[in-house]
Amino acid sequence: MSGSGNGGSGGASAALGVQETFRELVRMATRDGDPVDVFMLLSERAIDLLPVAACAVMVSDAGGGLHAVGTSGSSTGLLELLRALDEEGPGRECVATGLSVVADARTDAERWPRLAAQLAREGLTVVHAFPLLSRSTGVGALSLVGDGPLDASAQNIAQAFADLAALALLRSDAEEDALAVARRLHRTVQARATLSQAVGMIAERFDLDPDGALRRIRVTAATQRLTLSDLATAIVRRELPSIGALDLAAEEH
């Protein structure tokens, strides 16, 4: 987005196939992976597998607002687009109805003017939102942004990504209740805010754009075997070993 590439994992390595991708994500989601890690990886894999420019996992807070907790990048263009999606457009409708919704800037501009304007600014046209469901209640949406509508088979894969995101968020505990879900949502939104603040600190410290800073953080988390949330927390607390590791990651990247 915004001249920052598609924010994906880079063209050097061939994209994983559908099966490998889902095996990897299911393993992570069911082995108590930190939800933010799962959502970030899922977003990256989604843009590798599907003909879209950006992906976000958005969860609904108790106030009905949608927060992008996993994103395929961290550019201002993408973040502003997601903010427009929180305020209007298919995301909220998708959560409210529990059904997938598609918005096309060329035909829905009157209905969702802010979203349409933001899409136009990014040179994109279509947003698909697929529901994250807890039983039959919408608790979030997987948003995919591209320059055309997805065909039926791509939509099936997209809904499978959304189901996986719901699995990572809700887990399958028998005792799972509304409070436990509310607590996990609250914690996930806070963890994502911390990650964004960490992106800002690293962008400033190493003179990177936000996408570059996010990539640096992800590479470091992977090599240090830390969750994104733990590394982000260490960064915002200015714990020096972690920041030193980020410096080293520059050479590998």
Binding site: A62, G64, T137, V139, V189, Q190, A198, G200, M201, T233
Partner: protein, 233 residues
């Protein structure tokens, strides 16, 4: 997941209680009402140090200060971990293990249960709110869920406070979408790094700049990320 109505209702309660008066005591009042607790105290992090800022009673203030002095107790735990700290039953051995000196004192003062919730926006630590009551027993699910909502909204209300701690009547609506916005968070991190200040101070400064320049916080944030604007130390 609780509906939008509840969030709005709690935001309205806060806005009403704080309009034209000091935010911190207003937060304490609303929390006492929502959580059905007799006493509430509020600690704010000022220049990196926790300071007791409001208490609904002398007992609440005293217990809050004892925690800060001893470096243990629910409020201290929530400040340290950034997660809620529940002490459902102060007579339980686990409670005593977590904070031996403080819990003995609180029990002697007739407290049965204590609940602390951090006030923060990601890594920007605003403070902690603590409720306590004479009877032991956990918060109900609804009270707990309200506590999570009010802790986010209170963090924002405190951020909106004027330098004298009051909320201007008819001023900004308490709106979580703006403060939790991704662009705002990235810019907050950049400012914190540029100025070498805590995250919360970076957020306060960006807000002050937006307010003085009559602009929106998101626009200020975008200009900071695009390196068109640099806030001065």
């Amino acid at each position: 997941v609780v509906g939008e109505g509840r969030w709005r209702r709690i935001a309205d309660l806060l806005q009403e209680a704080a309009a034209g008066s000091e935010v911190a005591p207003a937060v304490a009042e609303v929390v006492a009402q929502l959580l059905h607790v007799e006493h509430v105290s509020l600690v704010l992090v000022v220049g990196g140090l926790p300071v007791t800022t409001a208490g609904s009673s002398d007992l609440a203030v005293m217990l809050c200060e004892r925690q800060l002095a001893l470096g243990e107790g629910p409020a201290v735990e929530a400040l340290r971990t950034g997660e809620p700290a529940q002490f459902d039953d102060l007579t339980a051995p686990e409670s005593l293990e977590r904070a031996p000196v403080f819990i003995s004192e609180a029990r002697a003062a007739g407290v049965g249960a204590m609940f602390a919730f951090p006030l923060r926006i990601g890594g920007a630590h605003v403070g902690v709110l603590t409720g306590h009551r004479a009877g032991a027993g956990p918060l109900s699910h609804e009270q707990h869920s309200d506590a999570l909502i009010v802790s986010t909204l209170a963090s924002i209300a405190l951020l909106h406070a004027e330098p004298d701690g009051t909320l201007a009547p008819g001023g900004e609506r308490i709106d979580h979408a703006t403060v939790l916005d991704g662009v705002v968070q990235v810019a907050t991190g950049m400012v914190a790094e540029q100025l070498g200040v805590p995250m919360i101070e970076a957020l306060v400064r960006m807000r002050a700049h937006a307010f003085a320049a009559d602009g929106r916080l998101e626009e200020v944030a975008r200009r900071i990320i695009d390196r068109e604007l640099r806030l001065e130390r």
